[in-house]
C-alpha cells in the first residue's frame, strides 16, 4: 500500500495546501492572480515570468505542495512525476497561433506541449525520475492511482508527485498530491476512493469536472 501524504490545489483564485486555504484573491483575473500568488508566496524564481499559464499554475501548485521540503530526503532519480489534463496545451497553442500572424514566437512555441509543465517542475526541484503526461477528458482517479502504483513498483522510485493541471482561457483546475511508500503527513491510503474524496473536497462536484470548463 502506498500513501497520499500531501496535496495542494488552485481553484477559483484560491490556493490550498492540504486542507487549508493559504491565499486567495478572487478579484483578480487569472494572469494577475498568478502573479499575485507568486509574490504572496515570496518565491524568487524569475523564470516564472516566462512560463505559460499551465506551467505557472503547475509551478505554483508544486511550490505549495513541496513547501515543507518534504521530498528533500529523496535522491533526485527516485522521485517521479505523473500528470494529466483535458486540454493539453491548447491555451498556449492558441496564443502561439496568434503570434504566427506577425512572427512565430519561439518562447510561446516552447510551451505548446502539455508536458513542459512537468519539465518546469522537474527543473525547479531537480526531479529526475520517471515522468508521464496523459490527456483524458477529466481527472481519472482509477487510472492515475493504477499508474502511480505501477511507477512506485520500481525499486528506484520512492515517491511520486501526481495530479491534474488543466487550463483553457480563464478556466482552470489544478490538483497535485504526493504519494510515498511510508505513511505520514495526510496519511491517506493511496486508493481511487481516497483520491476522489481529496479531489472533490475543494469543489463538491459529482464527477470531478468543473461546470465552468468548456469542452
Amino acid at each position: 500500500m502506498n500513501f497520499i501524504t500531501a496535496s495542494s490545489a488552485i481553484r477559483e483564485q484560491r490556493v490550498f495546501q492540504n486542507h487549508h486555504e493559504i491565499f486567495r484573491d478572487t478579484q483578480l483575473v487569472l494572469d494577475d492572480f498568478l502573479l499575485a500568488t507568486y509574490q504572496a508566496l515570496a518565491i524568487d524564481y524569475p523564470k516564472f515570468y516566462k512560463m505559460d499559464r499551465s506551467s505557472q499554475l503547475g509551478f505554483l501548485a508544486s511550490e505549495v505542495l513541496l513547501r515543507e521540503n518534504i521530498i528533500q530526503s529523496y535522491s533526485h532519480e527516485s522521485v517521479a512525476l505523473v500528470l494529466a489534463n483535458a486540454h493539453a496545451s491548447l491555451d498556449t497553442d492558441l496564443r502561439f497561433y496568434e503570434s504566427m500572424k506577425s512572427a512565430a514566437s519561439p518562447a510561446l512555441f516552447v510551451y505548446t506541449l502539455p508536458n513542459i509543465v512537468a519539465g518546469e517542475i522537474s527543473i525547479r526541484n531537480r526531479i529526475k525520475g520517471e515522468n508521464a503526461f496523459f490527456v483524458t477528458p477529466a481527472f481519472e482517479p482509477h487510472t492515475m492511482s493504477l499508474y502511480v502504483d505501477t511507477v512506485l513498483e520500481k525499486p528506484q522510485t520512492q515517491a511520486c508527485i501526481a495530479g491534474w493541471i488543466d487550463v483553457l482561457h480563464g478556466h482552470y483546475d489544478v490538483f497535485l498530491y504526493l504519494v510515498e511508500k511510508e505513511k505520514r503527513g495526510l496519511s491517506l491510503d493511496h486508493k481511487p476512493e481516497e483520491l476522489t474524496t481529496l479531489y472533490q473536497q475543494y469543489y463538491g462536484t459529482v464527477d470531478g469536472r468543473s461546470e465552468k470548463t468548456d469542452h
Binding site: D93, M100, S105, N131, V135
Partner: protein, 405 residues
C-alpha cells in the same frame, strides 16, 4: 487494483504485429525496401500549403489525405494524424492476426499534433471572419479524439489512453502497454503514435532555429538541424497466454524500458546527456542485460547540434569504447515528433526480424568531440537485442529494449 504478482507469474510482453507509415513507405515491406536501397524520404514539401514550401525539406508521407481516405475506406474529413494512425494501427493488428474481441484489450496512442492540420486551416479563415471556417475541421482537434478514431476503427472498447510527452510520446505509450500486460490488467494492447506535418509545427520549429535547410545529417560533424517528418507506428503487444492460445508470432519481446527527466531546460538537452544516460542505463537494468548484449541502437539522432552531442556523450559514457552498431533512421524519415518512438520501435523490431541493422544516411565525418562513427551500410548480423531512444521536449527521456524471442 494492482495484483502485485510475484515476478515468476508476471507475463512476458510479446510484440505480435507491427504497422508503420512514413516518408519511406506505407508498409513494413516498403520500408524494408527503402532501407535496403538507401532511399531517403526527405524532400521538398508537396501537400502542406505553407510559405516554407520551397525552403525546408521534410519527410512527408507520399499520399494526400484524399488518397489515404480512399485507401482506408473511411469517412471524409478525418484529420491527417487520424488517417496515418488508422493506417498503421490496422496494419499492426492484421499482421498480428490476433482476435482482439476475444481478449481484454486496450489502445494507447500518442500524438503531439492531434487534429492541428485541420484546425489551423479553420483558424486562418475564422480569425478573419467569425462566420467563416468549416466547423467540421475542428471537431477532431483534441489529442484524445485521434485515439478514439483509431479505437473505433479497430473495434477496441476497453482501455483507452492518450499520451503526450512530446517526442517520446509513443514509446511511453508502448511502455504503458507493456506494464499493463505484465501486471495482468490487459491481454492485448495496441500501442504507438501518430503525427502529421502542420504549419504550426513547421513554423514553431523554425522559430527555434533548429531546422536544417538541407536534408539532415544526424551525428555528423557538419550537422545543422533536423527535418520534420510525419507518420505513424504501432505495435500489438500480447501476453504469454494470448501468444500461446492463438499461436501468434513473437517478433520481439519488450525486455526493458525506462523513463527519466533531464531536468535541465524546457527544450534543450543537458550537455553531458544526464537524462539520456539515465534512461538507457535504467532500461538495461530492468532488462537484466549488459551493454555488451546490445547489438544495435536506434538513436534519437535528430541532427541538431544539441541532441546529437548530448546523446552521443551519454552513449559513449554508458557503452565505453565498445559501441554496438548505431544509427539514426531520422535521416530516412525526418523527425516524426510524437510518432517517432512508435515508428522507430517498429524499425527496431524489423531489425530483429531481418537480423539486419539500418544505416545512418548522409554521414561523412564524426563529431570531433566524440569520434562516434555510426553504421553506414545495411548489414546482416546477429541481432538479439535492440535499444531505441526517444528524447522529448520537457526533458522527457525514454529508452526501450526489444529482444529476439
Amino acid at each position: 487494483m494492482l495484483t502485485n504478482r510475484p515476478d515468476t507469474l508476471k507475463s512476458r510482453v510479446h510484440v505480435a504485429g507491427v504497422g508503420v507509415i512514413s516518408a519511406i513507405g506505407v508498409s513494413v515491406n516498403e520500408t524494408l525496401q527503402a532501407f535496403q536501397h538507401y532511399r531517403s524520404g526527405i524532400g521538398p514539401i508537396n501537400f502542406l500549403n505553407t510559405a516554407h514550401q520551397h525552403s525546408l525539406p521534410v519527410g512527408e508521407v507520399k499520399l494526400s489525405n484524399d488518397q489515404l481516405e480512399k485507401k482506408l475506406g473511411v469517412k471524409p474529413n478525418l484529420t491527417r494524424t487520424a488517417l496515418l494512425g488508422i493506417h498503421a494501427a490496422r496494419q499492426a493488428v492484421a499482421h498480428a492476426r490476433v482476435k482482439i474481441s476475444n481478449w481484454r484489450s486496450g489502445l494507447i496512442s500518442a500524438t503531439t499534433v492531434g487534429g492541428m492540420d485541420k484546425t489551423e486551416n479553420f483558424f486562418s479563415e475564422f480569425l478573419q471572419d467569425t462566420q467563416r471556417g468549416n466547423l467540421h475541421d475542428v471537431v477532431n482537434h483534441e489529442c484524445g479524439k485521434s485515439t478514439m478514431l483509431i479505437a473505433d476503427d479497430l473495434g477496441i472498447h476497453g482501455f483507452l489512453s492518450t499520451v503526450n510527452t512530446a517526442c517520446s510520446s509513443s514509446v511511453n505509450a508502448i511502455m504503458l502497454g507493456a506494464r499493463l500486460i505484465t501486471q495482468g490488467m490487459l491481454d492485448v494492447v495496441v500501442a504507438g503514435g501518430s503525427d502529421a506535418l502542420t504549419k504550426f509545427t513547421l513554423n514553431g520549429f523554425n522559430s527555434l532555429m533548429i531546422l536544417d535547410g538541407e536534408p539532415c545529417r544526424p551525428f555528423d560533424a557538419t550537422r545543422n538541424g533536423l527535418n520534420l517528418g510525419e507518420g505513424a507506428g504501432f505495435v500489438v503487444l500480447v501476453s504469454d497466454r494470448v501468444h500461446e492460445q492463438e499461436s501468434l508470432d513473437s517478433l520481439a519481446l519488450v525486455s526493458g524500458f525506462a523513463n527519466t527527466n533531464d531536468a535541465f531546460h524546457q527544450t534543450a538537452s543537458s550537455p553531458d546527456g544526464r537524462g539520456p544516460y539515465s534512461a538507457m542505463e535504467q532500461a538495461l537494468k530492468t532488462s537484466g542485460l549488459t551493454t555488451a548484449d546490445i547489438h544495435y541502437i536506434n538513436l534519437h539522432g535528430t541532427g541538431t547540434l544539441n541532441n546529437d552531442l548530448s546523446e552521443g556523450t551519454a552513449v559513449k559514457r554508458l557503452f565505453g569504447e565498445h559501441l554496438p552498431a548505431l544509427s539514426s533512421t531520422k535521416a530516412f524519415t525526418g523527425h516524426t515528433l510524437g510518432a517517432s518512438g512508435g515508428i522507430e520501435a517498429v524499425f527496431s523490431v524489423m531489425s530483429l526480424m531481418h537480423q539486419s541493422v539500418w544505416p545512418n544516411l548522409r554521414f561523412a565525418e564524426a563529431m570531433p568531440e566524440l569520434g562516434i562513427v555510426p553504421q553506414k551500410t545495411v548489414e546482416q548480423m546477429s541481432v538479439k537485442n535492440v535499444m531505441s531512444n526517444s528524447f522529448g521536449f520537457g526533458g522527457n527521456c525514454s529508452s526501450i529494449i526489444l529482444s529476439k524471442a
